[in-house]
């Protein structure tokens, strides 16, 4: 056991048992997996990702590059750091070799999200953050204080003195004062992982009780105070990745937080003063310690303390390598091998300025500390303390707190030596132990011509592991500088991007997963479709019945049956998802005239007109029917997926261009349920249900609508057909849809009324050559390309898209045009999206690249035609009707004949029944 009495902030009255690599270890509340293992002189069973070298614990928190574990219980989580996972009873983990494993079972824990709006968010509850939070709270500001550790205090170990008292007592007082303030929210175990524009900070809270495992806080603050501290880095030595090589600050942290003495014979290799504190503390806790200072002179105060404790100091020297197999047994100093079981390295401190960098804050090289630090002022952002490169506690407090800041005794301090690596074999000098990347790898990258740190990073993968180079990033830049002779000031660090530490996707998703991933819209008739055994398809957010299979039927069989039923008898479909826009106002007709390619203002009340909407480029955006309800009122329908876009486009024109038009737009999609009753017997069904309605063709003609009443419920019926058959659309308030639907189905029973879904609707419309916008079109198709010149007004002086029709490119006879394709074998279903090619006169394919004539846009089996057919966009297609082209299908060229788009009832004889 390496647990030392009298040290640490663990609760020794209680014991927790964790299992690591199958072995049970006891620890105490306040421990991490790493501290439990080190207390037992153990380490996780890990080796490096590429070379299989042994790996131990190097750090004490999120900077940890090596001690990777996989949590198995209570719930599998891959690739965590042993230094950041708290030891709780029943925890089961195992070491991983740089690669984790995702859970194979569903995660039933809750992940949550909370929005916070505040005057100031303070990131870091170390001395700087606590002072900043306290001062803001005293001013009455709303404060959110975030800290990623389980307990506040930051880098304070308890040996420091603030305002004349032990530093941790001062921390307790400040925390108590903050807790008493009604304007302060203080969250520990909460990592601010992203900082975005306008004071937006994302933080991940690791919850310790209740059902919620993690919670993302979305904090919007008028002011962001970054007091995130600094991270110690080593300097690079041969075999510095060996277990037993630890950051000096981490060893000190282990002692003061967890009461763990990480070694008995300790060599401390440093370039700066800070590691002396580790040397002294570990010596006081019982270890034998020797310091190797890279500087020519040891700082006087520390040299005196060392002398008092029989700590030997070698100056002007570096540790250049280690000895040992699975664990370090000696440090190599010059030609001497100094036996040790723990080698502490300190190469200086790197400000944790990530959150400053996230919002574009510029970092500049500070030769005084050998690191990059914030170098400009950003509105609403303050960086204080070690994150700003201010390392001495007395200075940190002054910087964070202004004139009435707490004070700490001034320490005489000697400047650090900036050292990136010791002398040695570059192939054994690991810069990033998490990536097995060495100085030799950096040299190889530089030799290959990559001199920018961003390029070297990508070539060597340095800084791309789970730790994102928290300890190795600046070392790599320093070594690039050495190799290229370019100053660090010119090179700059690689860009810090969110997240600061890894965040599980589950946490980002929060509760928006499963059924809540995306809103699902269902029609009022959804329950009926479910009961009828419908298969559904998603159309945008809508769930639409696709077909209604009977026992033993696959989709093909069901759709052929449904198609035959509509063409031979009567079918009924739920069309409630059609977009409906109520267009109202004295200028409603004028607006529609400007938007639609054809004339709408001339439409008489009681009549219906099909219309096409284009963009300024003349390309079809949407189509649908327009019902004139009154002189100043139209009901416009849109395709299901385009409803919002069409409404938005109308609003845009009204608000930004035609502000003189007196028109109001209202989305009424969800208000109306629409049922399509189609087929030669549809008149019988509609006539039977709506007794007050004269359904004769003379009284109720094609493309007209009538109002009627059913049991006191207003109903609108329109003669609109999307199948070419006699057909009716029944519009009724969504509340009454199920009742009306039931009445129609009951009345249709004697005619064998067949519910049909979207797949059948698609087949029926394609047989008639009716395009589906977005399927048969792709934003490069004009109404003329679709064969709809009849829907383009030549009388109107202007409408959206008209001028573009006159552009030469839009009049090119070789434009792709909508045609039908009938495969010669009358059997092959041409896959939608297939390319269309043409053989040369000699019957062979042209040399590659084979010219493409177009592609198949819709393809179905037709019950009516008794064969498959397709719609396609083909260059100059209308002039090529009757010609044969070829479609590659599964490696074969299938011949197909180009035909007109209307394949069923081209005379239109069926629409009136």
């Amino acid at each position: 056991m390496s647990r030392v009495d009298g040290y640490g902030r663990i609760d020794r009255t209680r014991t927790v048992t964790i299992t690591v690599d199958g072995v049970a270890y006891t620890g105490h509340p306040g421990d991490t997996v790493a501290s439990v293992l080190l207390a037992h002189d153990a380490r996780p069973a890990t080796t490096s990702v590429k070379l299989g070298r042994p790996r131990g614990i190097t750090g004490s928190w999120t900077e940890e590059p090596t001690g990777l574990i996989q949590v198995e219980e209570p719930f599998p989580e891959p690739m965590l750091q042993a230094t950041t996972v708290e030891a709780v009873d029943g925890l089961v983990v195992r070491g991983v070799n740089g690669q984790g494993r995702l859970s194979q079972v569903a995660d039933h824990a809750r992940y949550d999200r909370r929005h916070r709006h505040t005057d100031v968010v303070v990131v870091g509850a170390g001395p700087a953050g606590l002072v900043a939070a306290r001062d803001a709270a005293r001013r009455g500001e709303d404060v959110v204080l975030l800290d990623d550790r389980p307990a506040p205090g930051g880098s304070l170990t308890g040996t420091e003195v603030i305002d004349g008292r032990p530093a941790l007592a001062w921390v307790d007082d400040v925390v108590a004062a903050l807790a008493a303030s009604p304007t302060v929210t203080h969250l520990q175990r909460t990592t601010a992982f992203g900082h975005h524009d306008d004071g937006f900070v994302l933080a991940l809270e690791r919850c310790t009780d209740g059902r919620t495992r993690q919670r993302v806080h979305r904090v919007r603050a008028a002011r962001v105070v970054i007091a995130a501290g600094a991270i110690e880095r080593p300097y690079v030595i041969e075999d510095g990745d060996r277990p037993g090589v630890v950051l000096a600050s981490a060893a000190r942290d282990l002692l003061h937080r967890h009461g763990v003495l990480a070694g008995r014979e300790v060599v401390v290799a440093t370039t700066n003063d800070s590691a002396y504190a580790a040397a002294v503390d570990l010596r006081d806790a019982g270890a034998a310690v020797r310091v190797v200072d890279a500087r020519d002179e040891a700082p006087a105060a520390w040299a005196r303390r060392c002398a008092e404790r029989s700590i030997g100091i070698t100056t002007g020297a570096t540790v250049r390598g280690t000895r040992g197999e699975e664990h370090v047994t000696a440090a190599v100093v010059g030609d001497e091998e100094v036996p040790c079981d723990l080698l502490l390295l300190s190469g200086g401190w790197t400000p944790t300025a990530h959150l400053f960098s996230h919002v574009g804050g510029r970092l500049a090289y500070d030769a005084g500390i050998g690191a990059y630090r914030p170098a400009e002022r950003l509105d609403g952002v303050e960086v204080v303390g070690a994150a700003n490169g201010t390392l001495a506690l007395a200075d940190v407090l002054r910087e964070a707190g202004g004139p009435d800041a707490p004070t700490a005794p001034a320490e005489e301090a000697a400047p650090p030596r900036v050292l990136w690596r010791a002398e040695g074999d570059p192939a054994r000098q690991f810069v990033d132990a998490a990536r097995d990347a060495t100085v030799a790898d950096v040299a190889r990258a530089v030799a290959a011509g990559m001199t920018h740190p961003e390029h070297v990073k990508r070539y060597t993968t340095i800084g791309t592991a789970h730790d994102q180079g928290k300890t190795s990033g600046v070392l790599a830049v320093g070594i690039i500088a050495e190799l290229t002779g370019r100053p660090l000031a010119e090179l700059g660090p690689t860009t810090f991007r969110p997240p600061y530490t890894p965040v599980a996707f589950a946490a980002l998703a929060g509760r928006e997963r499963g059924d809540l991933f995306d809103p699902v819209r269902t029609t009022p008739l959804h329950g009926w479709h479910v009961a009828a055994g419908a298969e559904f398809e998603a159309v945008g957010q809508w769930q639409r019945a696709r077909y209604y299979p009977r026992a033993g039927e696959d989709m093909t069989a069901a759709v052929l049956r449904e198609c035959a039923a509509v063409r031979g008898g009567v079918g009924i479909m739920d069309a409630s998802t059609l977009g409906c826009i109520d267009v109202r106002g004295p200028d409603a007709g004028e607006l529609l005239d400007r938007l639609y390619t054809n004339m709408m203002s001339s439409l008489k009340v009681g009549r219906v007109r099909y219309g096409v909407v284009c963009g300024n480029d003349g390309m079809v955006r949407d189509d649908g029917t327009v019902l004139r309800l009154a002189d100043d009122r139209f009901l416009v329908t849109t395709t299901t997926g385009n409803a919002a876009a069409v409404l938005d486009a109308m609003e845009e024109w009204l608000q930004t261009e035609w502000t003189d038009l007196r028109v109001r737009l209202t989305s009424v999609t969800d208000h109306w349920s629409i049922m399509a009753v189609a087929g030669p017997r549809s008149r019988d069904v509609v006539g039977a249900v709506f007794g007050d309605l004269d359904v004769s063709n003379d009284a109720f003609g094609f493309m007209t609508w009538r109002d009627t009443v059913l049991d006191g419920t207003p109903v609108r019926v329109a003669r609109i057909s999307f199948s070419g058959e006699l057909a009716y659309e029944v519009h009724v308030s969504a509340w009454h849809a199920p009742a009306v639907w039931d009445r129609l189905v009951a009345a249709g029973e004697r005619y064998g009324i067949t519910p049909y879904g979207t797949e059948t609707m698609h087949v029926l419309r394609a047989e008639k050559g009716y395009p589906i916008i977005g399927q048969d079109t792709d934003g490069t198709v004009t109404p003329h390309d679709l064969g709809m010149s009849w829907a383009v007004s030549t009388k109107k002086p202007d409408f959206v898209g008209k001028r573009s029709f006159a552009r030469p490119a839009n009049r090119d006879p070789a434009r792709k045009q909508l045609v039908s394709l009938l495969p010669d074998d009358a059997a092959t279903l041409l896959p939608e999206g297939s390319q269309i090619v043409e053989l040369r006169a000699d019957g062979r394919l042209p040399a590659p690249p084979v010219p493409m004539l177009g592609h198949v846009t819709s393809s179905y089996r037709s019950a009516e035609l008794g064969r498959p057919f397709a719609l396609a966009l083909v260059k100059g297609g209308r002039d090529r009707v009757g010609e044969t082209v070829h479609v590659p299908v599964a490696g074969e060229l299938v011949p197909a004949r180009i035909g007109p788009t209307v394949l069923v009832d081209p005379e239109g004889a069926r629409r009136d029944g």
Binding site: D197, R220, N616
Partner: protein, 90 residues
Amino acid sequence: MQLITCPWCGPREEIEFSYGGQAHVPYPADPSALDDEAWARFVFFRDNPKGPFTERWVHTAGCRRWFTAVRDTRTHRFLGTPRMSTELTS
């Protein structure tokens, strides 16, 4: 994520808004009077300055109103979001 100040609703998160491109590009009074190049310039060409840019935004997930804004394309900072001079009339 930026905060964008809707002139009607106040500061709201960026995801509530949609971008409408360069502002003050009026629909030509008589498109048929334009030659092909002039028309193509209206349909397809927009400025792309480095610096302040006057552009259109719409508060899609809020009041659904359009407004003009001046934004510095180098910093994404909004320099002002006045209500549109030509407001929706009733």
